[in-house]
Protein backbone atom coordinates (compact mmCIF):
# COMPACT_ATOMS: atom_id res chain seq x y z
CA UNK A 1 0.00 0.00 0.00
CA UNK A 2 1.31 3.46 -0.85
CA UNK A 3 2.23 6.00 1.82
CA UNK A 4 -0.81 7.86 3.20
CA UNK A 5 -1.29 11.46 2.13
CA UNK A 6 -0.48 13.95 4.86
CA UNK A 7 -3.18 16.46 5.75
CA UNK A 8 -3.03 19.25 8.34
CA UNK A 9 -6.26 20.27 10.03
CA UNK A 10 -6.62 23.39 12.16
CA UNK A 11 -7.42 22.76 15.81
CA UNK A 12 -10.69 24.22 17.02
CA UNK A 13 -14.00 24.87 15.30
CA UNK A 14 -12.82 23.96 11.79
CA UNK A 15 -11.34 20.71 13.09
CA UNK A 16 -14.74 19.34 14.10
CA UNK A 17 -16.33 20.34 10.82
CA UNK A 18 -13.43 18.95 8.79
CA UNK A 19 -13.44 15.63 10.67
CA UNK A 20 -17.19 15.28 10.26
CA UNK A 21 -16.91 16.10 6.53
CA UNK A 22 -14.12 13.54 6.06
CA UNK A 23 -15.99 10.89 8.07
CA UNK A 24 -19.09 11.30 5.87
CA UNK A 25 -16.89 10.48 2.89
CA UNK A 26 -15.31 7.39 4.39
CA UNK A 27 -12.25 8.81 6.12
CA UNK A 28 -12.90 8.32 9.84
CA UNK A 29 -10.22 9.53 12.20
CA UNK A 30 -9.84 8.78 15.88
CA UNK A 31 -7.17 10.61 17.82
CA UNK A 32 -5.75 8.87 20.86
CA UNK A 33 -5.92 11.01 23.96
CA UNK A 34 -3.56 14.01 23.73
CA UNK A 35 -2.21 12.80 20.39
CA UNK A 36 -2.19 15.25 17.49
CA UNK A 37 -1.41 12.81 14.68
CA UNK A 38 -3.58 9.92 13.46
CA UNK A 39 -4.20 7.89 10.30
CA UNK A 40 -7.71 7.29 9.03
CA UNK A 41 -9.10 3.77 9.18
CA UNK A 42 -8.55 3.18 5.44
CA UNK A 43 -4.89 4.24 5.65
CA UNK A 44 -5.42 6.91 2.99
CA UNK A 45 -4.74 10.06 5.00
CA UNK A 46 -2.42 10.84 7.86
CA UNK A 47 -3.91 13.78 9.74
CA UNK A 48 -2.00 16.22 11.90
CA UNK A 49 -3.68 18.79 14.10
CA UNK A 50 -1.92 22.14 14.18
CA UNK A 51 -2.69 25.66 15.28
CA UNK A 52 -4.78 27.45 12.65
CA UNK A 53 -2.29 30.25 12.04
CA UNK A 54 0.62 27.77 11.81
CA UNK A 55 -1.05 25.51 9.28
CA UNK A 56 0.31 27.28 6.17
CA UNK A 57 3.83 26.99 7.58
CA UNK A 58 3.51 23.20 7.96
CA UNK A 59 2.18 22.84 4.43
CA UNK A 60 4.73 25.24 2.97
CA UNK A 61 7.58 23.22 4.48
CA UNK A 62 6.03 19.98 3.23
CA UNK A 63 5.55 18.54 6.73
CA UNK A 64 1.93 18.15 5.72
CA UNK A 65 1.39 17.98 1.97
CA UNK A 66 -2.23 19.10 2.22
CA UNK A 67 -4.14 21.41 4.54
CA UNK A 68 -7.64 22.63 5.29
CA UNK A 69 -7.51 26.31 6.00
CA UNK A 70 -9.30 29.65 5.63
CA UNK A 71 -8.25 31.85 2.72
CA UNK A 72 -7.68 34.64 5.29
CA UNK A 73 -4.98 32.64 7.06
CA UNK A 74 -3.37 31.60 3.79
CA UNK A 75 -3.29 35.19 2.57
CA UNK A 76 -1.64 36.36 5.79
CA UNK A 77 1.03 33.67 5.45
CA UNK A 78 2.07 34.94 2.02
CA UNK A 79 2.71 31.39 0.81
CA UNK A 80 1.63 30.05 -2.57
CA UNK A 81 -0.36 26.83 -2.57
CA UNK A 82 -2.50 24.98 -5.06
CA UNK A 83 -6.16 25.36 -4.10
CA UNK A 84 -7.77 22.00 -4.77
CA UNK A 85 -11.35 22.62 -3.67
CA UNK A 86 -13.55 24.82 -1.53
CA UNK A 87 -14.96 23.13 1.54
CA UNK A 88 -18.73 23.44 2.04
CA UNK A 89 -18.39 24.95 5.51
CA UNK A 90 -16.68 27.75 7.40
CA UNK A 91 -17.28 30.58 4.92
CA UNK A 92 -17.26 34.03 6.40
CA UNK A 93 -16.68 37.69 5.54
CA UNK A 94 -13.73 40.03 6.05
CA UNK A 95 -15.23 43.39 6.97
CA UNK A 96 -14.31 46.94 7.83
CA UNK A 97 -16.24 47.90 10.99
CA UNK A 98 -16.54 51.00 13.13
CA UNK A 99 -18.61 52.32 16.09
CA UNK A 100 -22.28 52.79 15.20
CA UNK A 101 -22.10 56.46 16.12
CA UNK A 102 -18.78 57.23 14.41
CA UNK A 103 -18.75 60.47 12.47
CA UNK A 104 -16.45 59.77 9.48
CA UNK A 105 -15.59 63.46 9.36
CA UNK A 106 -13.91 63.08 12.75
CA UNK A 107 -11.38 60.67 11.17
CA UNK A 108 -10.18 62.91 8.35
CA UNK A 109 -6.78 62.09 6.88
CA UNK A 110 -5.25 58.64 7.17
CA UNK A 111 -7.56 55.81 8.06
CA UNK A 112 -6.47 54.24 11.35
CA UNK A 113 -7.31 50.54 11.43
CA UNK A 114 -6.65 47.81 13.99
CA UNK A 115 -6.58 44.20 12.80
CA UNK A 116 -5.09 40.74 13.09
CA UNK A 117 -4.98 40.64 9.30
CA UNK A 118 -2.33 43.25 8.61
CA UNK A 119 -1.16 41.89 5.27
CA UNK A 120 -4.69 41.70 3.94
CA UNK A 121 -5.57 45.17 5.26
CA UNK A 122 -2.44 46.84 3.89
CA UNK A 123 -2.89 45.25 0.45
CA UNK A 124 -6.61 46.02 0.36
CA UNK A 125 -6.22 49.71 1.17
CA UNK A 126 -3.20 50.05 -1.13
CA UNK A 127 -5.13 48.47 -4.03
CA UNK A 128 -8.01 50.86 -3.45
CA UNK A 129 -5.86 53.95 -3.12
CA UNK A 130 -6.74 54.58 0.53
CA UNK A 131 -4.03 55.90 2.86
CA UNK A 132 -4.32 53.75 5.98
CA UNK A 133 -2.35 53.24 9.16
CA UNK A 134 -2.61 49.57 10.10
CA UNK A 135 -2.10 48.50 13.72
CA UNK A 136 -1.46 44.81 14.42
CA UNK A 137 -3.41 43.14 17.21
CA UNK A 138 -3.36 39.49 18.27
CA UNK A 139 -7.08 39.16 19.03
CA UNK A 140 -10.17 40.80 20.57
CA UNK A 141 -9.88 43.40 17.84
CA UNK A 142 -13.33 44.83 18.60
CA UNK A 143 -11.83 46.37 21.73
CA UNK A 144 -9.69 48.76 19.66
CA UNK A 145 -12.51 51.27 18.90
CA UNK A 146 -14.00 50.84 22.37
CA UNK A 147 -10.71 51.65 24.08
CA UNK A 148 -9.73 54.37 21.59
CA UNK A 149 -6.79 52.65 19.86
CA UNK A 150 -8.32 53.00 16.38
CA UNK A 151 -11.78 53.99 15.14
CA UNK A 152 -11.86 51.24 12.52
CA UNK A 153 -11.16 47.53 12.58
CA UNK A 154 -10.77 44.89 9.88
CA UNK A 155 -11.97 41.53 11.12
CA UNK A 156 -13.90 38.38 10.26
CA UNK A 157 -17.64 38.77 10.72
CA UNK A 158 -19.99 35.79 10.84
CA UNK A 159 -23.23 36.66 12.66
CA UNK A 160 -22.27 40.19 13.65
CA UNK A 161 -23.21 39.51 17.30
CA UNK A 162 -19.74 40.36 18.61
CA UNK A 163 -19.79 43.67 16.75
CA UNK A 164 -23.25 44.55 18.07
CA UNK A 165 -22.22 43.68 21.62
CA UNK A 166 -19.53 46.37 21.31
CA UNK A 167 -21.80 48.87 19.50
CA UNK A 168 -19.91 48.39 16.25
CA UNK A 169 -21.32 47.94 12.74
CA UNK A 170 -20.05 46.75 9.38
CA UNK A 171 -19.01 49.69 7.22
CA UNK A 172 -18.07 47.58 4.21
CA UNK A 173 -17.52 43.95 3.31
CA UNK A 174 -13.97 43.70 1.95
CA UNK A 175 -13.80 40.03 0.89
CA UNK A 176 -15.53 36.68 1.10
CA UNK A 177 -13.46 34.18 3.04
CA UNK A 178 -13.71 30.47 2.23
CA UNK A 179 -12.29 27.35 3.80
CA UNK A 180 -10.25 25.50 1.18
CA UNK A 181 -8.22 22.35 0.73
CA UNK A 182 -4.72 23.37 -0.36
CA UNK A 183 -1.62 21.49 -1.42
CA UNK A 184 2.07 22.22 -1.28
CA UNK A 185 2.85 22.55 -5.02
CA UNK A 186 5.82 20.16 -5.08
CA UNK A 187 3.92 17.63 -2.95
CA UNK A 188 0.98 17.82 -5.34
CA UNK A 189 3.20 17.37 -8.39
CA UNK A 190 4.81 14.26 -7.00
CA UNK A 191 1.54 12.64 -5.82
CA UNK A 192 -1.00 14.18 -8.15
CA UNK A 193 -2.79 10.93 -8.93
CA UNK A 194 -3.59 9.99 -5.33
CA UNK A 195 -4.42 13.61 -4.46
CA UNK A 196 -6.78 13.96 -7.45
CA UNK A 197 -8.40 10.70 -6.42
CA UNK A 198 -8.90 11.99 -2.86
CA UNK A 199 -10.41 15.25 -4.16
CA UNK A 200 -12.73 13.30 -6.49
CA UNK A 201 -13.94 11.24 -3.53
CA UNK A 202 -14.44 14.32 -1.36
CA UNK A 203 -16.33 16.17 -4.08
CA UNK A 204 -18.34 13.10 -4.99
CA UNK A 205 -19.96 12.84 -1.58
CA UNK A 206 -20.24 9.85 0.70
CA UNK A 207 -17.90 6.96 -0.16
Amino acid sequence: MSEPLTLALPKGRLQEQSEAYLAERGYSITFERRKLVATDASGTIRIMLVKNSDLPTYVHHGIAGLGVCGTDVIYESGYDFFTLMQMPFGSTRMCLAAPEDLDPASCAGRLRVATKFTRFARDYFQRNGIAAEVIRLGGSVELAPVLGLAPYIVDLVETGNTLRAHHLEVVEELARIAVVLVANPAYYKFRYRSIDSLVDTLQGGAA
Binding site: N184, P185, A186, F190
Partner: protein
Protein backbone atom coordinates in the same frame (compact mmCIF):
# COMPACT_ATOMS: atom_id res chain seq x y z
CA UNK B 1 27.87 42.74 18.14
CA UNK B 2 27.33 40.05 20.78
CA UNK B 3 23.68 39.50 19.78
CA UNK B 4 24.77 38.65 16.20
CA UNK B 5 27.40 36.10 17.04
CA UNK B 6 25.16 33.03 16.80
CA UNK B 7 23.72 33.51 13.33
CA UNK B 8 24.51 34.70 9.84
CA UNK B 9 22.69 37.44 7.94
CA UNK B 10 19.74 36.20 5.87
CA UNK B 11 20.66 35.21 2.34
CA UNK B 12 23.89 33.38 3.00
CA UNK B 13 25.07 30.19 4.65
CA UNK B 14 28.16 28.31 5.75
CA UNK B 15 28.77 24.60 6.00
CA UNK B 16 31.76 22.74 7.26
CA UNK B 17 33.73 19.50 7.47
CA UNK B 18 31.66 16.41 6.59
CA UNK B 19 28.78 18.47 5.21
CA UNK B 20 31.13 20.50 3.02
CA UNK B 21 32.93 17.29 2.02
CA UNK B 22 29.73 15.72 0.75
CA UNK B 23 28.76 18.96 -1.00
CA UNK B 24 32.05 19.10 -2.85
CA UNK B 25 31.83 15.44 -3.81
CA UNK B 26 28.41 16.04 -5.34
CA UNK B 27 29.68 19.09 -7.21
CA UNK B 28 32.72 17.17 -8.44
CA UNK B 29 30.56 14.29 -9.63
CA UNK B 30 28.46 16.79 -11.59
CA UNK B 31 31.52 18.44 -13.09
CA UNK B 32 33.00 15.10 -14.15
CA UNK B 33 29.71 14.09 -15.70
CA UNK B 34 29.36 17.35 -17.63
CA UNK B 35 32.84 16.95 -19.04
CA UNK B 36 31.92 13.46 -20.24
CA UNK B 37 29.10 15.15 -22.13
CA UNK B 38 31.63 17.65 -23.60
CA UNK B 39 30.49 20.62 -21.49
CA UNK B 40 33.10 23.15 -20.36
CA UNK B 41 33.08 25.16 -17.13
CA UNK B 42 32.14 28.81 -16.83
CA UNK B 43 32.47 31.21 -13.94
CA UNK B 44 30.14 34.18 -13.68
CA UNK B 45 30.88 37.43 -11.83
CA UNK B 46 29.52 37.95 -8.34
CA UNK B 47 27.85 41.24 -9.29
CA UNK B 48 27.02 43.17 -12.42
CA UNK B 49 25.25 46.34 -13.55
CA UNK B 50 21.63 46.27 -12.42
CA UNK B 51 20.21 48.07 -15.46
CA UNK B 52 21.21 45.19 -17.75
CA UNK B 53 18.83 42.84 -15.96
CA UNK B 54 15.93 45.20 -15.38
CA UNK B 55 12.69 43.62 -16.55
CA UNK B 56 14.09 40.08 -16.78
CA UNK B 57 13.04 39.04 -13.27
CA UNK B 58 9.49 38.67 -12.06
CA UNK B 59 8.41 40.87 -9.13
CA UNK B 60 9.12 38.24 -6.50
CA UNK B 61 12.62 37.52 -7.79
CA UNK B 62 13.25 41.24 -8.24
CA UNK B 63 12.37 41.95 -4.61
CA UNK B 64 14.80 39.29 -3.41
CA UNK B 65 17.86 40.66 -5.23
CA UNK B 66 20.52 42.59 -3.38
CA UNK B 67 21.52 45.86 -4.97
CA UNK B 68 24.38 48.16 -4.11
CA UNK B 69 25.97 51.32 -5.42
CA UNK B 70 29.64 51.22 -6.40
CA UNK B 71 32.10 54.06 -5.92
CA UNK B 72 31.37 55.42 -9.41
CA UNK B 73 27.67 55.69 -8.51
CA UNK B 74 26.52 52.77 -10.68
CA UNK B 75 23.76 50.56 -9.35
CA UNK B 76 24.92 46.94 -9.13
CA UNK B 77 23.07 43.70 -8.51
CA UNK B 78 24.49 40.63 -6.79
CA UNK B 79 24.24 37.30 -8.64
CA UNK B 80 20.81 35.96 -7.71
CA UNK B 81 20.32 33.71 -10.73
CA UNK B 82 23.25 32.18 -12.58
CA UNK B 83 21.29 31.72 -15.84
CA UNK B 84 20.90 35.48 -16.26
CA UNK B 85 24.52 36.29 -15.45
CA UNK B 86 25.68 33.48 -17.72
CA UNK B 87 23.58 34.73 -20.64
CA UNK B 88 25.12 38.18 -20.32
CA UNK B 89 28.70 36.83 -20.17
CA UNK B 90 28.19 34.44 -23.06
CA UNK B 91 26.79 37.31 -25.09
CA UNK B 92 30.07 39.15 -24.52
CA UNK B 93 32.49 36.38 -25.45
CA UNK B 94 30.78 34.21 -28.06
CA UNK B 95 30.93 34.58 -31.85
CA UNK B 96 28.42 32.93 -34.19
CA UNK B 97 31.19 30.61 -35.43
CA UNK B 98 31.64 29.23 -31.88
CA UNK B 99 28.14 27.73 -31.75
CA UNK B 100 26.98 25.38 -30.46
CA UNK B 101 28.61 25.84 -27.06
CA UNK B 102 28.11 23.59 -24.05
CA UNK B 103 28.80 25.03 -20.62
CA UNK B 104 28.31 24.03 -17.00
CA UNK B 105 28.61 25.89 -13.70
CA UNK B 106 28.44 25.46 -9.97
CA UNK B 107 28.35 28.53 -7.81
CA UNK B 108 26.75 30.44 -5.00
CA UNK B 109 23.77 32.69 -5.51
CA UNK B 110 23.02 35.64 -3.29
CA UNK B 111 19.47 36.68 -2.66
CA UNK B 112 17.31 37.71 0.21
CA UNK B 113 15.27 35.04 1.95
CA UNK B 114 12.56 35.75 4.46
CA UNK B 115 13.84 35.43 8.00
CA UNK B 116 10.68 33.46 8.88
CA UNK B 117 10.89 31.17 5.88
CA UNK B 118 13.98 29.06 5.62
CA UNK B 119 12.32 26.46 3.41
CA UNK B 120 13.47 28.05 0.18
CA UNK B 121 16.88 29.07 1.37
CA UNK B 122 19.06 27.94 -1.45
CA UNK B 123 22.44 29.42 -2.01
CA UNK B 124 24.14 27.09 -4.43
CA UNK B 125 23.23 26.12 -7.99
CA UNK B 126 24.85 23.73 -10.40
CA UNK B 127 23.62 23.65 -13.94
CA UNK B 128 24.33 23.36 -17.64
CA UNK B 129 23.42 25.27 -20.79
CA UNK B 130 23.47 24.27 -24.43
CA UNK B 131 23.82 27.48 -26.43
CA UNK B 132 23.28 27.84 -30.16
CA UNK B 133 21.34 24.62 -30.71
CA UNK B 134 17.64 24.38 -31.24
CA UNK B 135 14.97 21.75 -31.85
CA UNK B 136 14.10 18.48 -30.14
CA UNK B 137 17.63 17.13 -30.44
CA UNK B 138 19.05 19.87 -28.21
CA UNK B 139 16.11 19.73 -25.80
CA UNK B 140 16.50 15.96 -25.43
CA UNK B 141 20.21 16.34 -24.69
CA UNK B 142 19.74 18.83 -21.87
CA UNK B 143 16.97 16.85 -20.15
CA UNK B 144 18.95 13.61 -20.47
CA UNK B 145 21.98 15.35 -18.94
CA UNK B 146 19.76 16.26 -15.99
CA UNK B 147 18.58 12.64 -15.68
CA UNK B 148 22.18 11.47 -15.86
CA UNK B 149 23.17 13.89 -13.10
CA UNK B 150 20.27 12.79 -10.90
CA UNK B 151 21.29 9.16 -11.41
CA UNK B 152 24.90 10.00 -10.65
CA UNK B 153 23.76 11.50 -7.33
CA UNK B 154 21.56 8.51 -6.58
CA UNK B 155 18.37 10.56 -6.94
CA UNK B 156 16.60 7.89 -8.95
CA UNK B 157 13.20 8.60 -7.40
CA UNK B 158 13.08 12.15 -8.75
CA UNK B 159 10.53 12.75 -11.52
CA UNK B 160 10.70 15.46 -14.16
CA UNK B 161 7.55 17.34 -15.16
CA UNK B 162 7.87 18.81 -18.61
CA UNK B 163 5.66 21.37 -20.32
CA UNK B 164 5.86 23.92 -23.11
CA UNK B 165 5.73 27.69 -22.99
CA UNK B 166 4.24 27.84 -26.49
CA UNK B 167 0.90 26.79 -25.00
CA UNK B 168 0.64 30.40 -23.81
CA UNK B 169 2.30 32.16 -26.70
CA UNK B 170 -0.85 33.02 -28.61
CA UNK B 171 -2.24 34.96 -25.67
CA UNK B 172 -1.79 38.67 -25.10
CA UNK B 173 -2.01 38.31 -21.33
CA UNK B 174 0.87 35.89 -20.93
CA UNK B 175 2.22 37.81 -17.95
CA UNK B 176 -1.06 37.18 -16.09
CA UNK B 177 -1.83 33.79 -17.59
CA UNK B 178 1.52 32.14 -16.88
CA UNK B 179 1.46 32.52 -13.07
CA UNK B 180 -2.21 31.48 -12.91
CA UNK B 181 -1.53 28.31 -14.94
CA UNK B 182 1.63 27.56 -12.94
CA UNK B 183 -0.37 27.88 -9.69
CA UNK B 184 -3.14 25.72 -11.17
CA UNK B 185 -5.52 28.54 -10.29
CA UNK B 186 -8.28 27.61 -12.75
CA UNK B 187 -10.79 30.35 -11.87
CA UNK B 188 -8.14 33.00 -12.60
CA UNK B 189 -7.01 31.21 -15.78
CA UNK B 190 -10.59 31.22 -17.02
CA UNK B 191 -11.04 34.88 -16.07
CA UNK B 192 -7.90 35.94 -17.98
CA UNK B 193 -8.90 33.94 -21.06
CA UNK B 194 -12.39 35.47 -21.00
CA UNK B 195 -10.94 38.95 -20.68
CA UNK B 196 -8.93 38.20 -23.78
CA UNK B 197 -12.21 37.67 -25.58
CA UNK B 198 -12.02 33.91 -26.02
CA UNK B 199 -15.37 32.16 -26.40
CA UNK B 200 -16.45 29.85 -23.59
CA UNK B 201 -15.82 26.62 -25.55
CA UNK B 202 -12.24 27.75 -26.35
CA UNK B 203 -11.69 28.53 -22.65
CA UNK B 204 -12.89 25.01 -21.79
CA UNK B 205 -10.45 23.44 -24.26
CA UNK B 206 -7.50 25.42 -22.94
CA UNK B 207 -8.29 24.89 -19.25
CA UNK B 208 -8.61 21.15 -19.87
CA UNK B 209 -5.21 21.21 -21.55
CA UNK B 210 -3.46 23.25 -18.88
CA UNK B 211 -4.80 20.91 -16.19
CA UNK B 212 -3.18 17.91 -17.82
CA UNK B 213 -0.49 15.91 -16.04
CA UNK B 214 0.19 12.38 -17.20
CA UNK B 215 1.82 10.00 -19.62
CA UNK B 216 2.32 10.51 -23.37
CA UNK B 217 -0.43 7.96 -24.04
CA UNK B 218 -2.87 9.90 -21.87
CA UNK B 219 -2.00 13.15 -23.64
CA UNK B 220 -2.42 11.50 -27.03
CA UNK B 221 -5.87 10.27 -25.99
CA UNK B 222 -6.79 13.75 -24.78
CA UNK B 223 -5.61 15.62 -27.87
CA UNK B 224 -5.99 13.30 -30.86
CA UNK B 225 -8.66 14.30 -33.38
CA UNK B 226 -8.86 17.82 -31.92
CA UNK B 227 -8.45 20.37 -34.74
CA UNK B 228 -9.68 23.05 -32.32
CA UNK B 229 -6.33 23.06 -30.50
CA UNK B 230 -4.67 25.37 -33.00
CA UNK B 231 -1.41 24.79 -34.85
CA UNK B 232 0.87 26.39 -32.22
CA UNK B 233 -0.53 24.21 -29.44
CA UNK B 234 -0.46 21.12 -31.69
CA UNK B 235 3.23 21.68 -32.51
CA UNK B 236 4.09 22.09 -28.83
CA UNK B 237 2.28 18.87 -27.95
CA UNK B 238 3.97 16.97 -30.77
CA UNK B 239 7.31 18.28 -29.54
CA UNK B 240 6.62 17.01 -26.01
CA UNK B 241 5.42 13.64 -27.30
CA UNK B 242 8.58 13.27 -29.35
CA UNK B 243 10.81 14.13 -26.39
CA UNK B 244 9.04 11.78 -24.01
CA UNK B 245 9.25 8.95 -26.56
CA UNK B 246 13.02 9.53 -26.65
CA UNK B 247 13.24 9.40 -22.86
CA UNK B 248 11.11 6.25 -22.80
CA UNK B 249 13.38 4.61 -25.38
CA UNK B 250 16.33 5.32 -23.07
CA UNK B 251 14.57 3.76 -20.07
CA UNK B 252 13.16 6.89 -18.44
CA UNK B 253 9.45 6.43 -19.14
CA UNK B 254 8.61 6.30 -15.42
CA UNK B 255 10.72 9.32 -14.55
CA UNK B 256 9.05 11.87 -16.80
CA UNK B 257 5.52 13.25 -16.89
CA UNK B 258 4.02 15.66 -19.36
CA UNK B 259 2.63 18.51 -17.28
CA UNK B 260 1.02 21.32 -19.24
CA UNK B 261 0.80 23.53 -16.16
CA UNK B 262 4.61 23.76 -16.28
CA UNK B 263 4.89 27.00 -18.24
CA UNK B 264 8.01 28.53 -16.68
CA UNK B 265 8.24 31.10 -13.95
CA UNK B 266 10.19 33.73 -15.85
CA UNK B 267 9.18 35.98 -18.73
CA UNK B 268 12.25 34.91 -20.71
CA UNK B 269 11.14 31.28 -20.99
CA UNK B 270 10.27 29.96 -24.45
CA UNK B 271 9.85 26.38 -25.71
CA UNK B 272 10.11 23.50 -23.26
CA UNK B 273 10.10 24.13 -19.51
CA UNK B 274 10.60 21.54 -16.79
CA UNK B 275 10.94 21.05 -13.06
CA UNK B 276 12.15 18.04 -11.08
CA UNK B 277 10.34 16.87 -7.94
CA UNK B 278 11.47 14.51 -5.21
CA UNK B 279 9.14 12.74 -2.77
CA UNK B 280 10.41 14.45 0.35
CA UNK B 281 11.30 18.01 -0.60
CA UNK B 282 8.97 20.97 -0.24
CA UNK B 283 9.98 22.58 -3.52
CA UNK B 284 11.29 21.58 -6.95
CA UNK B 285 14.93 20.54 -6.81
CA UNK B 286 15.75 21.43 -10.39
CA UNK B 287 14.24 23.60 -13.06
CA UNK B 288 15.07 24.52 -16.60
CA UNK B 289 13.89 25.10 -20.10
CA UNK B 290 14.49 26.93 -23.31
CA UNK B 291 15.13 30.66 -23.38
CA UNK B 292 15.77 31.53 -26.98
CA UNK B 293 15.46 35.29 -26.59
CA UNK B 294 17.55 35.69 -23.45
CA UNK B 295 21.01 36.01 -24.99
CA UNK B 296 19.55 38.37 -27.58
CA UNK B 297 18.58 40.66 -24.71
CA UNK B 298 22.30 41.06 -24.08
CA UNK B 299 23.19 41.66 -27.73
CA UNK B 300 24.09 38.16 -28.96
CA UNK B 301 21.17 36.37 -30.47
CA UNK B 302 21.44 32.61 -29.99
CA UNK B 303 18.96 30.00 -28.83
CA UNK B 304 19.67 28.39 -25.48
CA UNK B 305 18.38 25.57 -23.31
CA UNK B 306 19.55 24.63 -19.85
CA UNK B 307 18.78 23.70 -16.28
CA UNK B 308 19.91 24.45 -12.77
CA UNK B 309 19.79 22.19 -9.74
CA UNK B 310 19.26 23.44 -6.20
CA UNK B 311 22.00 21.22 -4.88
CA UNK B 312 21.46 21.79 -1.17
CA UNK B 313 17.91 20.45 -1.44
CA UNK B 314 19.32 17.22 -2.78
CA UNK B 315 22.33 17.02 -0.59
CA UNK B 316 21.01 15.70 2.69
CA UNK B 317 18.84 13.02 1.12
CA UNK B 318 21.28 11.83 -1.53
CA UNK B 319 24.67 11.78 0.14
CA UNK B 320 24.49 8.20 1.35
CA UNK B 321 22.82 6.82 -1.77
CA UNK B 322 25.36 8.37 -4.08
CA UNK B 323 28.19 6.65 -2.23
CA UNK B 324 29.49 9.81 -0.62
CA UNK B 325 28.84 9.22 3.06
CA UNK B 326 30.75 11.68 5.15
CA UNK B 327 32.22 8.75 7.10
CA UNK B 328 34.24 7.82 4.01
CA UNK B 329 36.70 10.57 4.92
CA UNK B 330 39.39 8.23 6.25
CA UNK B 331 41.08 9.22 9.44
CA UNK B 332 44.86 9.25 9.67
CA UNK B 333 46.79 8.06 12.71
CA UNK B 334 47.41 10.94 15.12
CA UNK B 335 50.65 11.61 16.96
CA UNK B 336 53.18 10.31 14.45
CA UNK B 337 53.76 12.34 11.31
CA UNK B 338 55.90 9.62 9.67
CA UNK B 339 53.05 7.10 9.99
CA UNK B 340 50.57 9.58 8.54
CA UNK B 341 52.93 10.33 5.67
CA UNK B 342 53.41 6.61 4.98
CA UNK B 343 49.66 6.08 5.01
CA UNK B 344 49.07 8.86 2.49
CA UNK B 345 51.74 7.36 0.20
CA UNK B 346 50.07 3.98 0.44
CA UNK B 347 46.68 5.48 -0.46
CA UNK B 348 48.16 7.37 -3.35
CA UNK B 349 49.69 4.18 -4.74
CA UNK B 350 46.33 2.44 -4.34
CA UNK B 351 44.63 5.25 -6.24
CA UNK B 352 47.14 5.00 -9.07
CA UNK B 353 46.52 1.26 -9.35
CA UNK B 354 42.75 1.84 -9.53
CA UNK B 355 43.07 4.55 -12.17
CA UNK B 356 42.29 3.33 -15.69
Amino acid sequence: MPHHNLHLPQGTEAFFLEEAYVHRKLVRAFEDLCELWAYLPVQTPVYDFYELYRGLNDRRRESSTYRLVDRAGDLLVLRSDITLFLARQMGLVLEPADLPVRVYYGDTILRHEDVHDISRNEFFQVGAELIGATGPDADAEIVMLLFDALDQWGATDVVVHIGHRALLSEHDHRDRLAPAVAHRDWPTVRKVLREEGLPEDRCDVLVELYRFIGSPDELTRLTSGRPDLGSGVRDAIDHLLYLTSEFAALGYADRVRIDLSEVGSQAYHSGIVFQAYAPDTSDAIASGGRYDGLLGHFGFDAPSVGFSVMLRRLQSRQAQDAGYPASSVHRLPEGDFRKRYAETRRRRAEMKERAP
